[in-house]
């Protein structure tokens, strides 16, 4: 396949994944706003903007962090070049660029996703319909994933698609975890203390992990245990260990199809080995923030290596 097409496919799925994760983040904030006081809610909205890396563009326009304003900025503001709708448009553009490499079912799912969200986001979102809008985003992105899973050949195209998904997901999970922890823990001394369990709940909710975690831990909210779950547990599909196990399978398949391993395989093997050897105690001892910053940079290096190894650009 063409290097340029691989690039489009990779980014098509990165954008879809990021749009979906952004909706999850808003859902968690929305819930926080419903169940907590105004101050806690506004802090939560600030953390959403920080997590998404929008602080500069947001503060250029607005002076305070109110829920619906943040939601509209994140979902549809034309000043925000990485709004959810802009990401869906980028995803669709990439799908158009690589139409010959995706099935009609995938194309139609993406095109319908774009049409539906264009419609839903045509007017400012209100508190009363925010829930519906977020549900629509999740449903439409899920349909794209379903069409991909159900209709695509398991060939190099599919492996680039999935590699894009897991690179992006690992990045998003690491960022969410980093920002939430940072906000919730003024100092590491608080680790293990019984902070408001509702706040910890939002960390899990932002990653749609609350049910899984509660189920596995009989409802106990333990910050260290949560971090372990989100970083090292192989069973949780938005967790870092899971993402890298999947990413590893797909880039191993790419190496097999191309007849040799490349830089990205080497980098990923090293990252996986580090993860395998890590314990949550060790991570906290040397600093969770430092660990996550290092992870995000390493993840970026793997993405760059994939682009270089497979000639995404000249």
């Amino acid at each position: 396949m063409l290097g340029r097409t691989a690039n489009s496919i990779f980014w098509l799925y990165r954008y879809m994944e990021r749009a979906e994760n952004t909706a999850r983040l808003l859902e968690a904030g929305f819930r926080m706003a419903l169940t907590r006081g105004v101050d806690a809610a506004n802090e939560e909205w600030r953390s959403v903007i920080t997590t998404l890396g929008h602080t500069t563009t947001y503060e250029a326009q607005y002076s305070e962090y109110s829920g619906i304003q943040v939601c509209n900025f994140v979902l549809r503001d034309s000043a925000n070049s990485l709004s959810v709708f802009a990401m869906i448009e980028h995803a669709r553009s990439n799908a158009r660029l690589s139409r010959t490499s995706i099935t009609a079912e995938v194309w139609e799912a993406i095109n319908e996703c774009w049409m539906r969200l264009k419609d839903v986001l045509a007017r400012p979102v209100r508190e009363a319909n925010l829930g519906d809008v977020l549900a629509a985003i999740r449903r439409e992105t899920t349909l794209v994933r379903g069409a991909t899973y159900g209709s695509m050949l398991r060939n190099d195209i599919y492996h680039f698609a999935r590699a894009g998904t897991f690179i992006e997901r690992a990045d998003n999970t690491a960022r969410i975890l980093d920002v939430k922890y940072y906000l919730l823990l003024p100092s590491l001394a608080y680790v293990g203390s019984s902070l408001d369990s509702g706040q910890w709940d939002t960390v899990l909710r932002s990653l749609s992990a609350e049910r899984a975690y509660r189920w596995l831990n009989a409802g106990r909210m333990d910050p260290r245990g949560m971090a372990e779950f989100l970083i090292l547990d192989h069973r949780f599909p938005r967790g870092l260990a899971f993402c890298y196990a999947e990413l590893g399978l797909h880039i191993a398949s790419l190496a097999r199809l191309h007849g040799h391993e490349s830089q990205c395989n080497t980098l990923l093997s090293a990252a996986e080995a580090r993860m395998e050897a890590a314990t949550i105690e060790g991570i906290f001892d040397s600093g969770l923030h430092e660990f996550l910053v290092g992870f995000i940079a390493g993840n970026q290096a793997i993405a760059d290596a994939i682009a270089l190894d497979y000639r995404f650009t000249e």
Binding site: R4, N111, R311
Partner: protein, 476 residues
């Protein structure tokens, strides 16, 4: 049904209001349908097109970046007998076009014989000196041709235009049929319609048959597009997809080891046949427009050395020029030794003083077209123009008469379209798609029918309010 035939030829209705044979079965079916359901189906069609993303981009129109070409759900129908006759005329014309191009880039016998004025190619930008003395692989110049036909009577089809560069619209022919089959499967169960869906595989075979000698057993075919913002991008992607070929852009290609190669994830891989949807002048910045980013530097040298087939060949624009068009009857006779089976629309060449005088005297009755224009732009339709428009156009015409031709305003045939009030007649043309390879000339039964949706309008171009229809050739 309360529609009366207009004075022009109506393809469905006889003068007495009875139904012509081609439409009998369809009409009987239509009459039995519930009108409310039909209106509902009509709306449904637009949704189908939007969802599948069959859109075209309009240059300079950012608000509606992607538009749909309106689709009318009443098929345009010709009988098998009518089609067989048409096909013979089309094949004759396409063979003549290829022979003409070979001649124009070699001995120019037709000019030496005095049948064609030398100015027609010396003054013509579409004639490429770089092609002189070179014969493309398989001897084929126009691998894909679209012949625009109009009808004025039961047996009167005329050629309005030959599209020998990169005719577009074939994806609409295919998608219109798919849409009709999805909407009205029962129609196709009862009426035998010749299929069009194998066009992409016929195109792939036809292109592969034109591969250069250096190609492998299974030639690698790629479609070259100017990119996502081109108005026909959908069609480029559609055809590549349907053929199982790569859709490439200039940035994917470079000349490596004397071959044109595409950058794949596993390195550079040679292309044998390039179906290019990029104009000649953008094809090779080293040979033509040096500022072009759409093409491939050096591709022309590879081409001349026999390392790749370019379809259509560069320089085929010489044959779809409107000035050359007016000589097509002579061209057909010269190269085939036969009388043309398909006539031209009568054409006055304004370069000739007598013709110019006639055109100026009768301009209000004529259609005047720019020789190098396309898409319905830069033309004057006398009968529907104001005095001021005619006066302005006359100025341009007298300043550069060689730049114009004129034709009578034809009583184009009408076919029914679906409106809220029922069936209503509208003017149409027809573009059949023709494939040429050393194995022969292959014409897909039907083609693209374009329809002027405005009552009385004669302009069928999609850029000016035209729509399309499924075109049926009956298997009888």
């Amino acid at each position: 049904m309360s529609i009366r035939p207009e004075p022009n030829f109506d393809e469905m209705l006889e003068a007495d209001g009875s139904i012509r044979p081609a439409y009998r079965k369809y009409h009987a079916w239509f009459e039995a349908q519930n009108p409310a359901l039909m209106r509902h189906k009509d709306k449904e069609a637009e949704g189908l097109f939007r969802r599948t993303g069959i859109t075209f981009n309009v240059y300079g129109d950012s608000a509606a970046e992607e538009r749909l070409i309106p689709f009318d759900m009443v098929p345009r129908i010709v009988t098998g007998a009518e089609w067989r006759k048409l096909s013979r005329g089309i094949e004759q014309r396409v063979r003549a076009l290829n022979a003409f191009m070979h001649d124009m880039y070699h001995r120019q016998e037709i000019v030496r014989s005095g049948r064609l004025p030398v100015r027609l190619f010396t003054d013509n930008d579409a004639w490429l000196p770089q092609m002189v003395g070179f014969t493309p692989p398989g001897g084929v110049y126009t691998h894909i041709v679209g012949i625009d036909l109009v009808r004025t009577g039961p047996d009167e089809f005329m050629v309005l235009e030959d599209n020998a560069r990169t005719p577009s619209g074939v994806s609409y022919m295919l998608e219109n049929r798919e849409t009709m089959m999805a909407m009205f499967p029962e129609l196709f169960a009862h009426i035998p319609v010749r299929p069009v869906s194998d066009y992409p595989s016929r195109l792939a075979n036809s292109l592969a048959a034109c591969a250069p000698d250096c190609a492998a057993d299974q030639p690698v075919v790629a479609v070259l597009t100017p990119g996502i913002y081109n108005s026909a991008y959908f069609e480029h992607a559609f055809l590549a997809d349907q053929m199982g070929a790569e859709l490439v852009e200039g940035g994917d290609l470079r000349v490596v080891d004397g071959r044109v190669q595409m950058r794949t994830t596993a390195g550079y891989q040679p292309i044998d046949v390039l179906y290019r949807r990029v104009d000649d002048e953008f094809l090779d910045p080293l040979t033509f427009n040096p500022t072009s980013l759409l093409g491939v530097p050096g591709i022309f040298d590879v081409y001349r050395a026999g390392g790749i087939t370019i379809a259509n060949a560069p320089g085929t624009g010489i044959a779809d020029d409107k000035a050359i068009y007016s000589f097509m009857p002579e061209i057909v006779e010269f190269y085939t030794g036969e009388r043309p089976l398909l006539p031209n629309v009568p054409t006055w060449r304004c370069a000739e003083p007598d013709s110019l005088a006639y055109v100026l005297d009768n301009i209000a009755e004529l259609v005047v077209k720019e020789v190098h224009g396309s898409g319905g732009y830069g033309m004057l339709v006398g009968p529907t123009s104001s005095k001021r428009e005619i006066a302005e156009f006359t100025k341009k015409l007298t300043a550069r008469p060689g730049n114009y031709i004129a034709q009578p305003t034809l009583a184009l045939s009408t076919v029914p379209i679906f409106t809220r009030a029922g069936l209503a007649p509208r003017h149409v043309d027809l573009r059949p798609f023709v494939l040429v390879s050393p194995n022969g000339v292959d014409i897909t039964p039907g083609g693209l029918t374009r329809v002027a949706l405005k009552q009385g309008s004669l302009v069928v171009n999609s850029s000016q309010g035209g729509g399309t229809k499924d075109s049926w050739v009956l298997d009888d």
